[in-house]
């Protein structure tokens, strides 16, 4: 495949710039010779038309939400409203330097304050930080908050364990160990929910808290949530809620009312901001009263119509971000909240859950459904037993030939050959039907022409790629 380095010719460039007035050697005379760069970085040399065609060509080898249906479980690939993209380019946000004084940045501070108030209301929790730049960054922030809380209570040395349901996202255990906790897995029961008896056994004076995803990664709401959080609290621990799945109950229920002490919100999931090919997102964190004193500084406070930075948290964990968080992502998310209002937010979760249950109903005869319960925003099928040596990976690759992005596969780990499907509320019924038809055809193909699946995809810019070779002979940059 052609890279930008394979295009162009020496001396070409895609932008013209002014030249320095002084002679280069004369100018750089003040830099000691040992500090001056000896040989320049090898960068592409392309004209503007070559550059534009190259990246346009690359874009056409990519599949985005704007290309088609993207039912990636746990990722909430909903439509990204176009108005928001324009708003985030407003010079008053995009060209504003974060080290300007509060007096000169009142609009941006007002934006952050307003967003904070909405998110506190939506989650039913009294404290917030907008600093975390992504969901996992929010998790890290939450773990730091719990650590600080334990330190203040003199329990840092004794409460060292974080409990995690076996269906948890991989970021959860990774976040817990970054602040020195060890993790203990709690099994799911036959309903696909936290096994209460196992939870009771795991709880004790060495437990700092639990990290829960609600609804969990099977798309099942933890019906015992109030019991779970009560048990953890009475054992002296705190409850972290992973907010990746907030889209399923937006406007209908609040984690604060379920007993959450920390909650992170993926603005790039529930609140419609684009995923950017892997970021940037934003992961604001809301907290219960117990953790408010430890939130990162500065917060944003309002007095009358004036906004200021609030540094009055002597017990704060400090900064997790060098400035205020991902402001331009927050612009888009706030626009989304305003456009929806309370009724719209209920309609979002209603539509998301309706779509998931509809697809589940259409597919459950043809695919194994290990946990057949009411789904929330997503559900998990299994590719087991489809036909001669056919695996879930083959189903995923074959879906590409039908013009769809595959669902999340092989997660959660507790389902063999998992296919995790999250349609979101923004897909018309016709799209859901076409996707269901494709999966039904593929199930049939698995019986009749399994090689069609095993050799898929056939219609993509490249076919199945050798991942082992990428490890064995690592080529992670161009070799000149």
């Amino acid at each position: 495949m052609t890279t930008i380095y394979d295009r162009g010719a020496p001396g070409r460039r895609a932008v013209s710039l002014p030249s320095p007035k002084r002679d280069e050697n004369d100018l750089l005379d003040v830099l000691p010779a040992g500090l001056r760069r000896k040989s320049g970085p090898r960068l592409p040399e392309v004209s503007q038309p070559e550059l534009v065609r190259h990246y346009t060509a690359l874009s056409r080898m990519n599949y985005g939400v704007d290309t088609g249906f993207y039912p990636l479980g746990s990722c909430t690939m909903k439509h990204n409203p176009k108005l928001h993209e324009d708003l985030a380019r407003s010079p008053g946000f995009a060209e504003l330097h974060p080290l300007l004084s509060a007096e000169m940045t009142q609009g941006a501070l007002a934006l952050l304050w307003e967003m904070g108030e909405h998110l506190k209301g939506i989650t039913g929790m009294p404290g917030i930080t907008l600093q975390p730049a992504a969901g996992a960054h929010g998790e890290l922030t939450g773990m730091l908050l719990i650590k600080r809380w334990l330190e203040a209570r003199g329990e840092l040395g004794t409460r060292t364990k974080i409990l995690l349901p076996d269906s948890a996202h991989g970021t959860n255990p990774a976040s817990a160990v970054m602040v020195g906790f060890s993790v203990v897995s709690v099994p799911s029961d036959r309903r696909g929910m936290v096994d209460l008896e196992a939870l009771k056994k795991a709880l004790g004076p060495d437990v700092a808290g639990i990290m829960l995803t609600v609804p969990n990664t099977l798309g099942i709401f933890e019906e015992d949530i109030l019991t779970i959080t009560r048990l953890v609290h009475s054992a002296g621990g705190l409850c972290y809620f992973d907010g990746a799945n907030l889209n399923s109950y937006l406007g209908r229920a609040r984690p604060g009312d379920m007993g959450a002490d920390v909650f992170h919100i993926n603005l790039h999931k529930t609140f419609s901001t684009p995923h950017g090919g892997g970021g940037p997102g934003a992961g604001p964190v809301t907290v219960s009263e117990a953790l408010v004193p430890y939130l990162p500084v500065p917060g944003i406070a309002r007095t009358g119509e004036t906004f200021r930075l609030d540094w009055e948290k002597p017990e704060s964990i400090g900064r997790v971000h060098p400035y205020f968080g991902n402001t331009l992502v927050i612009v888009k998310a706030l626009a989304y909240i305003l456009s929806l209002g309370d009724q719209g937010m209920r309609a979002v979760s209603g539509g998301a859950v309706l779509a998931a249950n509809y697809l589940k109903a259409r597919l459950k005869g043809a695919y194994k459904l290990p946990y057949d319960r009411l789904a929330k925003h997503e559900f998990v099928l299994s590719g087991e037993g489809l036909g001669d040596g056919v695996r879930t990976l083959d189903v995923a690759k074959r879906l590409m030939d039908f013009g769809f992005h595959p669902p999340t596969v092989y997660f959660p780990l507790i389902v063999k050959e998992a296919l995790m499907i999250e349609p979101t509320e923004t897909e018309p019924r016709e799209t859901l039907d076409a996707f269901a038809e494709a999966l039904l055809s593929i199930a049939q193909e698995a019986q009749e022409h399994p090689e069609l699946l095993r050799e898929a995809p056939h219609e993509t810019p490249v076919r199945r790629l050798d991942e082992v070779r990428a490890m064995r002979e690592p080529r992670l940059r161009r070799v000149f």
Binding site: G11, R37, G40, V46, T56, N80, R252, R254
Partner: protein, 439 residues
């Protein structure tokens, strides 16, 4: 009807019938009634597109700071962003895609990541780079955690000349991981002066150029550190002129990539770049794109070495990072491709030239001097008796600099920071000097 919600009442009816429930509310019976009863709406009506537009643009226009001519730095810099950057980023096949978990439909993302990794290696003088982190501060913090894992040491040497925002974030991460920060003093020239290296040191951090804008001399540092990591946090534009940290044996080079084609954005989103040596590859955090072949022998790209990452290795992962700053890394890729080696050098030289021209004129004024004698790139600390008053005079002349209290944590109370990029004109430089002079 909300423009993002396509289901008509007929659609809803048909879907409910297929599911076999009477209404949408029945799909929420699994949420405990007590929880649903406690729910409180925000009291927020829905807004039409025009009202949303007016509200947000109204907020954007309320910040007066943007009307000032920025001589602002402190980690983020006001460089010219060529139009091609925004146009490539507007391709929604790029910005509406997820992480490239399915390579056959993600060759666009994986290809530019490979290009980006190459460019970052070239800039930093390193062997391998990841596909981005949140920002320069978290990239530095992750480098410190990596150094501790690799060496077993728990002491981090932090120069007094490190950007206070970088230091704050590193300090938060270090506290979480149980690491201790130790100060490294700074010479009169404004460069770090490393005296002793305590036992148990996992890393020395060097910022290039440092928080005072001064170019550090990295020669000999790695030899003195032994197995402890030399971690450099570098300004990527400066690397067009300054010998890269890779040439001095740095183990990790990170930095804030915002100057490469990304807007100031009130501080976010930003771009953390992260580069290291192949020896350290398996300890590196974050995603990396690798070249391979498909079943027909055609060249293609995949996410390589995923066994380091949280979605595979869970609590054994090299980091918890998942979503990063991909689109900002694409901006950097297009920026560097558009400028090429000569264009990047030109931006660096212009910034250097204008910064030095301004510094010369400021120091010619009575009562103003440079705080440090060392060589600088495009940012410098002006020393004067009443920095607050000087900054206020600048503001009245329509010029913004970083408020002097930014330097207080570094022990400087008699100065303020000035950054100059290629965007600042001769007239603006003249206005700056006139304002300080009281003309």
């Amino acid at each position: 009807m909300n423009p993002y919600l396509p289901h008509t009442p007929e659609d809803v009816r048909a879907m409910l019938d297929r599911i076999g429930v009477p209404d949408v509310e029945a799909l929420f019976e699994d949420i405990p009634a007590e929880v649903q009863r406690r729910n409180r709406p925000l009291g927020l009506p829905s807004h039409d597109d025009l009202a949303v537009h007016q509200h947000l643009v109204g907020l954007a226009e309320r910040s007066t700071g943007r009307e000032l001519v920025p001589f602002l730095g402190g980690g983020l810099y006001d460089h010219f962003i060529p139009s091609v950057v925004g146009h490539v980023l507007s391709r929604s096949e790029f910005y509406t895609a997820y992480t490239p978990y399915q390579p056959e439909v993600s060759q666009g993302t994986l290809s530019w990541m490979f290009e980006y990794q190459t460019m970052i290696c070239e800039l930093t003088g390193m062997e391998v780079a990841n596909a981005s982190m949140y920002d320069g501060a978290s990239a530095l913090a992750e480098a410190v955690l990596m150094a501790s894992r690799a060496t077993g040491g728990r002491i981090v040497l932090v120069p007094r000349s490190l950007n206070p925002r970088l230091r704050d974030v590193v300090s938060t991460y270090a506290w979480g991981a149980g690491l201790t920060l130790r100060d490294v003093p700074c010479s009169e020239g404004g460069q770090l002066s490393l005296e002793t290296i305590p036992d148990g040191t996992c890393a020395l951090i060097v910022q290039q150029p440092n928080a005072f804008g001064i170019v550090e001399d990295l020669a000999g540092l790695k030899d003195r550190l032994g197995k402890a990591f030399l971690i450099a946090s570098a300004n990527p534009i400066s690397l067009a002129l300054i010998e890269p940290p890779g040439s001095f044996g740095a183990d990790v080079v990170v930095g804030e990539g915002q100057p490469l084609g990304n807007p100031l954005a009130f501080g976010g989103p930003l771009l953390g770049f992260f580069a290291t040596r192949m020896d350290h590859l398996r300890r590196m955090p974050g995603r990396v794109s690798g070249q391979t072949q498909d079943v027909d022998g055609k060249t293609g790209y995949v996410m390589a070495f995923q066994t380091r990452e949280q979605h595979i290795r869970r609590e054994g992962a090299t980091s918890n990072i998942c979503t990063n700053s991909a689109l900002c890394a694409l901006a950097a890729t297009v920026y560097l491709a558009a400028l090429g080696p000569d264009g990047l050098r030109q931006v660096a030289l212009l910034s250097f030239e204008r910064a030095h021209a301004l510094a010369e004129r400021i120091t010619a004024l009575p009562g103003y001097d440079l705080a440090f004698s060392g060589p600088f790139f495009h940012e410098f600390v002006v020393r004067c008796d009443a920095p607050e008053a000087a900054v206020e005079r600048l503001r009245r002349a329509g010029i913004a600099v970083v408020p002097p209290d930014f330097l207080h944590p570094l022990g400087i109370r008699d100065g303020f920071l000035v950054a100059v990029t290629e965007k600042r004109t001769e007239t603006e430089l003249e206005r700056f000097v006139a304002a300080l002079e009281g003309r």
